[in-house]
């Protein structure tokens, strides 16, 4: 997990030579309720649209990979440096169902299904309705305000996606193993924020020194593990 020092030297000159924040997210129980496998009936539907299937892996890995980590209080940086982001409508789902972008970035919504979809959001950070559009069309939406934007489809109530609009460019989705890295963070005191749709928002302050990597660990949720069955087996 240690960052190679050589790669740090290549970072853009406008930023003070920074350090990485490495961290881990630990989740010890399921936080969201979802169908890992589709019901048999759904496979028999036999209409034009295939069913998207959830990956059947470790449910805790799923939870870890649905955590977003970003910095608050960091310096502004140009949006253009952030890679292009899109949420596809494929097999009657939003793929991916969670993206993180810095404020001011745009997300495109292309429809790959042979049926109409409709993308809309009523969130405070950004509300929009892209209308119904068929296969092959796409819409682009820009998100200037930080916050969480919940995206739905009028036609398919089971379709949902989340867009986390971070205040800085240091924002990343945690991988399956719960490991994340915020690269080239300038020295200073920051707040590291971890967000999960069901568990909520968690904050930790971290101070970055010159060329000195920091390490932040979260345990979601804060509550101690319990043996109570209705919680443990959620």
């Amino acid at each position: 997990m240690w960052i190679k020092l050589g790669s740090c030297a290549l970072v853009a000159a406008t930023v003070l030579a920074g350090a990485d924040i490495n961290g881990t997210i630990a989740i010890d129980r399921k936080l969201s309720r979802r169908n890992v496998t589709a019901s048999a009936g759904m496979y028999q539907r036999g209409v034009a649209v295939k069913l998207g299937a959830d990956d059947e892996g470790d449910p805790l890995a799923f939870e870890r990979s649905h955590v977003v980590v970003y910095l608050e209080g960091g310096p502004k940086s140009p949006v253009s440096e952030f890679p292009k982001t899109s949420i596809e409508q494929r097999d009657r789902r939003f793929v991916p169902d969670l993206v993180v972008i810095p404020a001011g970035a745009s997300v495109s919504f292309p429809n790959f299904d042979p049926i109409f979809h409709n993308v809309f959001s009523l969130s405070k950070a950004k509300s929009f309705d892209l209308g119904n559009y068929p296969q092959g069309q796409s819409r682009l939406v820009t998100f200037p305000t930080p916050g969480v934007v919940a995206v739905y489809c009028h036609l398919h109530s089971n379709m949902a996606a989340s867009i986390v609009v971070a205040p800085s460019r240091w924002a990343v989705r945690v991988d399956k193993d719960g490991v994340f890295t915020l690269k080239d963070v300038p020295a200073g005191a920051f707040t590291v924020v971890a967000w999960h749709k069901s568990a909520g928002t968690f904050r930790k302050t971290v101070t970055i020194g010159e060329k000195q990597d920091a390490k932040v660990s979260f345990t979601l949720p804060y509550a101690e593990p319990t043996d109570a069955r209705h919680v443990a087996h959620r």
């Binding site: 009936g41 028999q44 036999g46 009657r92 109409f116 068929p134």
Partner: protein, 573 residues
């Protein structure tokens, strides 16, 4: 027909008929009760089922109204409206939504139609999944049954509203399953059977039987001699598609069949047992009634066959009528017996008188027959013979020389030795006596003595030369008595022997001529003679009158007159 048979039949047949009729009536009424009870329970069940069905439909309707509020579906309808139903993707979108609803709620058919009732999109379930339906030929009712692609669906509709205005109609339903009802049911379309659960009934039969039923009312009908009960099921006919009507059709007879079978068996067994008991009782009673009569009849038949008229024992336990009958018969038999005895005695007396007359022909043989009779009776008594034998011997001995009537006095009373011819003539008298008597009815018993009293044990006697036991005992006794009296009687040419001499002579021929047992019995008796042998004609007459008197003493008063006449005539002559 026998009396017993008649008694049996007259007691058994009415009872059997009565029993059969009452059993039949009881069984019929029990069956009717059972059937009525069952019909009532079937009706209750069907009514409860119909209520349940109605309630379920109400609940389903509320659920469906919830589906009508589905925002996704409304959005889909808006999409259709904005894009136009010709757009394949828009229709696909709605069909996809419908499939999802159909799948999650387990419907087999789902359709949305516009405000004018025009179908917008419809999906049906197939074995492998869902498929859109060709809308051009689709005209389902809002509620009720309809058939698509050879399948029968039962559907119901709810409005899809927006802002209190109906924008579309959602019609959903399932494949119609006639077996889902708890009772056998039948679905008719315009009086034609579309679906029925009764495999054993032809649709035509059901249609014919149900044609008479009012669509909304209970109905009882008969198909193939079986009673059926039919009630309208589900929503009242006419509220949906009036062409269809759903009715229960329950076989009441079949439902009660197991109970009926048990009852039938029970009644059969009970009936057979009762019948068997009746049979036994009838047989016993007829037997007890007929038995004494049969006994009487049997005795009468026996009497007719043997000619004897014995007295019947009177059974104190027998019925009064039987006792009267027995008594009457006994009285009649007694009278017949007495008159017959009188008759017989009259013969005997008559013939005895003949014998006396014969005795009287010869002064020397006077009283011979009477004495032989007395000796013979004494011997028989000594030999312990039965009373009947004694009577036979007494009369037989009196008559034993009757045959001498037919022999000339010249020969009979000839003094001195007889010629061979004369001896042969004399020896004819047993046969002559037999001939005289055998023509008289009732004297058969004495023939043996008359015919055979001159036979010898060694076969030298006459007329037949019989040997030993071939001669009856009666005749053998009389023979000894006859010989004794002949020896002890005086004759013109000699004086009679003394008792001892005579016994000695008898003993000398015992075994050869005489029966030694009889001779010994006689010898043991001692001298039986009552008076010295001195005979005159008047004595002879006196002896005759004595004999007659003794007979008179033994006979009934009625017979006395006859005998007195006979005696009088004899004295006058």
């Amino acid at each position: 027909m026998r009396f017993a048979t008649r008694t049996f039949l007259s007691s058994f047949i009415p009872f059997a008929v009565l029993l059969a009729v009452s059993f039949w009536a009881i069984r019929a009424s029990v069956m009717q009760t059972v059937r009525d009870g069952l019909r009532a329970s079937v009706r209750d069940k069907e009514v409860a089922l119909a209520h349940e069905q109605a309630r379920n439909e109400g609940r389903n309707r509320k659920l469906l109204e919830g589906i009508g509020e589905n925002p996704s579906l409304k959005a889909g309808l808006q999409l259709l409206a904005s894009e136009g139903s010709a757009t394949e993707q828009a229709r696909n979108t709605v069909q996809d939504q419908l499939s999802e609803i159909c799948d999650s709620l387990s419907f087999d058919f789902i359709m949305v139609s516009g405000t004018r009732g025009e179908p917008l999109a419809a999906v049906v379930r197939y074995a492998g999944g869902f498929a859109p339906v060709n809308l051009t030929r689709l005209h389902p009712p809002e509620q009720g049954f309809f058939s698509a692609d050879g399948r029968l669906y039962e559907v119901t509709s709810v409005p899809i509203r927006e802002a209190d205005a109906q924008v579309a109609t959602l019609t959903v339903g399932g494949r119609f399953d006639i077996a889902r009802f708890g009772v056998p049911a039948v679905l008719l379309q315009k009086g034609t059977v579309v679906a029925a659960q009764m495999r054993d009934l032809a649709p035509a039969q059901i249609e014919r039987a149900l044609a008479a039923c009012s669509p909304a009312a209970d109905c009882e009908l008969r198909i193939q001699d079986q009673r059926y009960l039919s009630l309208p099921l589900g929503r009242p006919a006419g509220s949906g598609d009036g062409n269809y009507s759903l009715r229960s059709l329950q076989n009441v007879d079949a439902a009660s069949a197991p109970l009926q079978a048990v009852l039938r068996k029970l009644f059969l067994v009970a009936g057979l047992i009762a019948l068997a008991a009746m049979l036994g009782i009838s047989a016993l009673s007829s037997r007890s009634i007929a038995r004494p009569l049969v006994d009487v009849a049997t005795r009468l038949r026996l009497s007719a066959a043997t000619g004897e008229l014995p007295e019947f024992p009177e059974d104190r336990r027998a019925a009064q009528e039987i006792r009267d009958l027995t008594q009457g018969f006994n009285n009649a038999a007694k009278a017949v017996r007495e008159s017959r005895e009188r008759l017989t005695r009259a013969y005997v007396q008559f013939v005895g008188s003949l014998a006396q007359a014969l005795d009287a022909r010869d002064a020397y043989t006077a009283g011979h027959s009477r004495r032989v009779s007395e000796y013979s009776c004494a011997i028989a008594k000594a030999m312990n013979l039965a009373q009947d034998d004694l009577e036979i011997i007494r009369v037989g001995a009196l008559l034993h020389d009757l045959g001498k009537i037919g022999i000339s006095d010249l020969v009979l009373q000839k003094p001195g030795r007889l010629t061979l011819e004369e001896t042969k003539l004399i020896q004819q008298h047993p046969v002559i006596g037999k001939r005289i008597l055998e023509n008289v009815q009732g004297l058969e018993a004495y023939l043996g003595i008359v015919e055979l009293h001159h036979e010898n044990l060694d076969g030298t006697g006459y007329p037949h030369g019989l040997r030993g036991e071939e001669t009856p005992l009666h005749a053998r006794i009389v023979k000894v008595a006859d010989a004794y009296d002949a020896m002890t009687s005086d004759r013109p040419y000699r004086r009679g022997k003394s008792h001892a001499e005579a016994i000695a002579v008898l003993r000398s021929v015992a075994g050869s001529e005489m029966d030694s047992q009889v001779v010994e019995a006689f010898a043991l008796l001692g001298d039986q003679r009552k008076q010295p042998a001195a005979f005159t004609g008047s004595q002879s007459l006196r002896s005759l009158s004595e004999a007659v008197q003794s007979e008179i003493d033994r006979s009934t008063p009625a017979a006395t007159a006859d005998l007195e006449v006979i005696a009088g005539e004899r004295e006058a002559s």
